[in-house]
C-alpha cells in the first residue's frame, strides 16, 4: 500500500461503460437465429449445413482481403457482423443454390454491401440482401428453383405446392392456391432456406425483444401495414388476393420482420423513424406481392427503404427535452 502513485489513466468522462459491445450484439443475433438455422438443416438436409459453413468462410475471407487492401486491421472480422451477414445470406437463398453462386453472393455481400462504404456501420444497404439482389440477376434460374422440404412434421396436411414445386406465395399469386397456416408456421412448404418455418423465426424475434436488441416500433409498423393492406384487398376480392394471415407467415416476411428491418446499421435510429421505415417496407412488400412481376418482394422492399434511411433520419431528429419553438423574429 502506498499513498502516491503516478501515471494514472487520463480520459474524459464518463469513466464507466455498460457491458455491451458491437461484438456482443452481433453474436447474440447469431444465437437467436439458431432455432431457425437448425430447422432449415432438418428441412433441406445436411447440404444446407455445408452452405452455411461455406458462406461464413467466404464472408470472413472477403472481409480480411478488403481490410488488408484498405490497410486496416482485419481483426474487424471478430465483431461478428460478417457472421450475421453470412448466415442471413444463406437463409434468403433457395435450397438448391450452387456453392459457386453462394460464394459469389457472399463476396458481393461483404465487398459491395459493406466494405466499399467503409466497413461496419457505414453501409447503406443490408449486405445480405445486396448479395441476394446480385444473385437474382446473375442466376435467375437457380434463384427461382424450389425444392420441397423433408416432411418433418408428418401430422400436418400435405402442402399445396408439393406438386407444383413452387413457393406458397407463387402458388397463391399465379395459381390461386393458398397454403394452410400450420404448414407455413412449421416450415413444411417450399421456400428460401431460412424463411420457411415462421414459428422458429418468431421464437428468435421474441428473444431479441427480451434482450432489448430490437424495437417494437418498426416490427409492429411493418407487420401492421402488411396485415391491414393485404386484409383490405382480401376483403375486396378474396378470389384474387390471399388473406392477411397467409401473407404474414409466408415468404421472407418473418425473417425480414425480426432480422432485416431491425438491422441497426441500415435502418433509422429514432423510434418514429423506425415506424416510418417499417410501414414503408410493408407498403412496398404488399405492392410487389400483389401487383409486381415477382411473387415475393421483401428483399427489394427493404433495399429501397434502406436507401431512404438517411433521409428519414434527417427528418426525424428529436426535439430536446423542454424544447421551445423559436418565436417569430420581431
Amino acid at each position: 500500500m502506498s499513498t502516491q502513485v503516478e501515471g494514472f489513466v487520463l480520459t474524459s468522462s464518463p469513466h464507466i461503460a455498460a457491458p455491451s459491445s458491437t461484438q456482443r450484439i452481433m453474436f447474440t443475433v447469431v444465437l437467436t437465429l439458431l432455432p431457425a438455422v437448425v430447422m432449415s438443416v432438418f428441412y433441406f438436409g445436411m447440404r444446407v449445413l455445408g452452405l452455411y459453413v461455406l458462406s461464413i468462410a467466404v464472408c470472413l475471407a472477403t472481409e480480411v482481403v478488403c481490410k488488408l487492401l484498405r490497410k486496416r486491421s482485419p481483426m474487424s472480422i471478430t465483431d461478428g457482423s460478417a457472421f450475421v451477414t453470412a448466415i442471413l445470406l444463406v437463409m434468403v437463398l433457395p435450397p438448391a443454390i450452387s456453392p459457386i453462386a453462394l460464394a459469389l453472393g457472399a463476396v458481393i455481400s461483404i465487398f459491395l454491401g459493406k466494405e466499399v462504404f467503409g466497413g461496419i456501420g457505414y453501409n447503406i444497404f443490408n449486405p445480405a440482401l445486396v448479395g441476394r439482389a446480385f444473385l437474382s440477376a446473375a442466376y435467375p434460374v437457380q434463384i427461382t428453383t424450389w425444392t420441397q422440404p423433408n416432411r418433418f412434421f408428418s401430422f400436418l396436411p400435405a402442402s399445396v405446392d408439393a406438386q407444383t414445386q413452387a413457393t406458397p406465395l407463387a402458388a397463391a399469386r399465379f395459381e390461386g392456391v393458398v397454403e394452410n397456416i400450420p404448414n407455413l408456421l412449421l416450415g413444411q412448404t417450399g421456400g428460401s432456406i431460412g424463411e420457411t418455418g415462421a414459428a422458429f423465426l418468431i421464437l428468435g424475434g421474441i428473444a431479441l425483444f427480451a434482450l432489448k436488441l430490437i424495437r417494437w416500433q418498426n416490427v409492429l409498423a411493418f407487420l401492421g401495414t402488411v396485415f391491414v393492406l393485404t386484409g383490405i384487398f382480401h376483403l375486396i376480392d378474396p378470389e384474387t388476393y390471399a388473406g392477411p394471415v397467409f401473407h404474414l407467415f409466408s415468404g421472407g416476411l418473418m425473417l425480414a420482420a425480426f432480422y432485416m428491418i431491425t438491422d441497426i446499421v441500415t435502418t433509422p435510429y429514432t423510434p418514429i423513424g423506425n415506424m416510418i421505415f417499417g410501414a414503408g417496407v410493408g407498403l412496398l412488400v404488399v405492392l410487389i406481392r400483389l401487383f409486381g412481376g415477382f411473387s415475393e418482394g421483401v428483399g427489394f422492399a427493404i433495399l429501397i427503404m434502406n436507401a431512404l434511411t438517411p433521409i428519414i433520419n434527417r427528418y426525424t431528429n428529436l426535439k430536446p427535452f423542454g424544447y421551445v419553438a423559436p418565436t417569430e423574429a420581431a
Binding site: 499513498t3 474524459s12 468522462s13 469513466h15 456501420g121 428529436l318 427535452f321
Partner: protein, 439 residues
C-alpha cells in the same frame, strides 16, 4: 406504488455498498491546508489575507468578486504561508491560499449553537446569510447558492425541490448526511421556508436509499411549520440533474436553455442545506464537507468529513492507503467526475467523491453502428450520435442547430455506446468550439 422518474436515462451499477453503511468520520486536522479561491462557478474570490497573516476558524480569506462569486473562509487557526497558483482538478488555474495550521488550537475549537431569531428571517436576510457563509451548490455544479435564491421580482417561486438523489455511482456522502443529520437538514428547510413561503417542498430521494427515505419522512412528520413531502424516486441516472429531478418530482418541464425559476422551482442539494443550517444555527460558514473516498483501489473506503483545503493525500492516509493496482483517480463520480493526473489537489466545496479505480480499460473507438442506444439514453432527448458525427466532421454549426448546447454532459450516451465512442468528449469539443468562435 409507482415511483416517479424522468424520461430515458441509464442504469449503471451503483457500487454504493462499499460505503453506504459507513458512518461519517472526520479526517485528522492536516498540518497544511491548500484552499483554492476558485471553488465555484463565476469569478474567483479575491484574497484578503496577506502572507503571514494570522487566521481563525470562519475568518474571511477570500472576498466574493461581484454577484456571481462566493466568499472563502479559513477552516482553522493558523498562518497564511503563501498564495500560490495551481491547477484545479478540472485543469483551470486558480489562486490557492496555503495555510500552516495550528492543530492544537484548531482541535479545541467548537462551533457553539447560537440563538436564531426566527422572526427576522426574510427572503433578504436568508439570501444574505447564504452569501455570507460562502455557500455554493454542493452537488457538484458549485454555482453560488445566493444567486439561485435571488430570483427576479417577476419570478413566482412556489416550490422548493431538495436533491437527495445522489445518482452518481459510488458516492454516498449525501446518503449518510440524510441519515445522520436529518433534523439539521430539516432545520435548513424551515429557515428557507421562512424566507420564501413555498407552497410545496418536495424532498427527492431514490428508492435505493430506503433508510434515508424513512428517516427523512419520519423527521418531516415532526415539522409543523413547513410543508415537506418526501418523493421516493425510481433509481435511474442522471436523476440528480436539476431538470430531470424537477420533472420527476413536480412533473414540470424547464424550457430548454432556461433556469428552474422559469417554472417556479428552486432546487437545492442536501449538502447545501446542511451548510445553510450550519451558518444560521452555529454561525459556521462553509468550511468543511463530507467526501466519499471509494473504489476498489482504496484500502478502506470511507465517508470522510474533511476541511476545505485538505490535501487528497491526507484522505488517502485516513483510508489506509491505496493499492498499486490503482490506474485511475477521479474527483467526483464516475459519470461526470474528472480524471486526475496526480493527487496534488485538495478538497473543495464541490468535492463529493475521490475514487480509486483499478479497472480503467480504455477501449478503442469502434465504428458507429447507428443502433440508437445513445438516443435512448439521452435525458435531454438529443441525438448524441449525430452531434458526435458533426463534431468529428468539423460541422459545428450543424451540431449547434441540433441543440448541441442543451447537452449537460451527463455521460449517459457514452455509457450506453456499444462501439465505445467517446460521445461526450466529441460533444464537449464541439461545444467549446461553438463557444470560443461564438457561432
Amino acid at each position: 406504488m409507482t415511483l416517479k422518474t424522468f424520461r430515458k436515462g441509464v442504469h449503471p451499477h451503483d457500487h454504493k455498498a462499499l460505503t453506504e453503511s459507513l458512518p461519517i468520520e472526520a479526517v485528522p486536522i492536516p498540518g497544511t491546508l491548500l484552499i483554492p479561491l476558485s471553488q465555484h462557478l463565476g469569478k474567483p474570490a479575491t484574497p484578503v489575507k496577506e502572507r503571514g497573516a494570522e487566521v481563525m476558524p470562519g475568518e474571511l480569506i477570500g472576498e466574493a468578486d461581484g454577484f456571481v462569486s462566493a466568499k472563502v473562509h479559513s477552516p482553522v487557526y493558523g498562518t497564511v504561508k503563501k498564495i500560490v497558483q495551481q491547477p484545479l482538478p478540472a485543469g483551470r488555474m486558480s489562486d490557492y491560499v496555503e495555510i500552516t495550521v495550528d492543530r492544537e488550537q484548531t482541535a479545541e475549537h467548537v462551533w457553539q449553537p447560537r440563538e436564531l431569531d426566527w422572526d427576522m428571517l426574510t427572503r433578504e436576510t436568508v439570501t444574505a446569510g447564504i452569501r455570507d457563509a460562502g455557500i455554493v451548490g454542493m452537488g457538484g455544479a458549485t454555482f453560488p447558492t445566493h444567486v439561485k435564491f435571488s430570483p427576479p421580482p417577476t419570478a413566482e417561486i412556489d416550490t422548493l425541490v431538495i436533491n437527495g438523489v445522489e445518482c452518481e455511482p459510488y458516492l454516498t456522502c449525501d446518503h449518510r448526511l440524510m441519515l445522520e443529520h436529518t433534523t439539521h437538514l430539516l432545520d435548513a428547510i424551515r429557515i428557507l421556508h421562512r424566507g420564501f413561503a413555498f407552497k410545496k417542498i418536495l424532498f427527492g430521494i431514490e428508492s435505493n436509499k430506503p433508510d434515508a427515505i424513512e428517516a427523512v419522512t419520519r423527521a418531516a412528520a415532526e415539522v409543523t411549520d413547513a410543508p415537506i413531502e418526501v418523493v421516493p424516486l425510481k433509481v435511474k441516472y442522471p436523476q440528480g440533474a436539476e431538470k430531470m429531478l424537477i420533472y420527476a418530482a413536480t412533473g414540470r418541464t424547464v424550457p430548454a436553455g432556461k433556469l428552474p425559476l422559469e417554472v417556479g422551482v428552486i432546487v437545492s442539494n442536501v449538502f447545501t442545506l446542511s451548510a445553510l443550517a450550519d451558518w444560521f444555527l452555529l454561525g459556521k460558514p462553509l468550511i468543511d464537507r463530507v467526501i466519499t473516498v471509494s473504489g476498489n483501489g482504496v484500502q478502506n473506503p470511507r465517508n470522510l468529513r474533511a476541511l476545505v483545503g485538505t490535501p487528497f493525500a491526507r484522505l488517502v492516509e485516513a483510508c489506509g492507503g491505496i493499492s498499486d493496482s490503482v490506474v485511475k483517480v477521479l474527483a467526483g463520480g464516475p459519470m461526470m467526475g474528472v480524471a486526475l493526473p496526480t493527487m496534488d489537489y485538495s478538497v473543495t466545496k464541490g468535492s463529493s467523491g475521490l475514487l480509486f479505480l483499478t479497472d480503467a480499460e480504455v477501449p478503442a473507438e469502434g465504428n458507429c453502428i447507428k443502433c440508437g442506444r445513445c438516443v435512448d439514453a439521452c435525458p435531454m432527448n438529443l441525438m448524441p450520435l449525430t452531434l458526435a458525427a458533426y463534431a468529428r466532421a468539423n460541422k459545428f454549426l450543424e451540431a449547434k442547430e441540433l441543440h448541441l448546447n442543451d447537452c449537460f454532459e451527463c455521460g449517459a450516451c457514452a455509457y450506453n455506446c456499444p462501439a465505445k465512442i467517446k460521445l461526450v468528449a466529441w460533444i464537449r469539443y464541439a461545444k467549446n468550439y461553438v463557444r470560443v468562435h461564438k457561432l
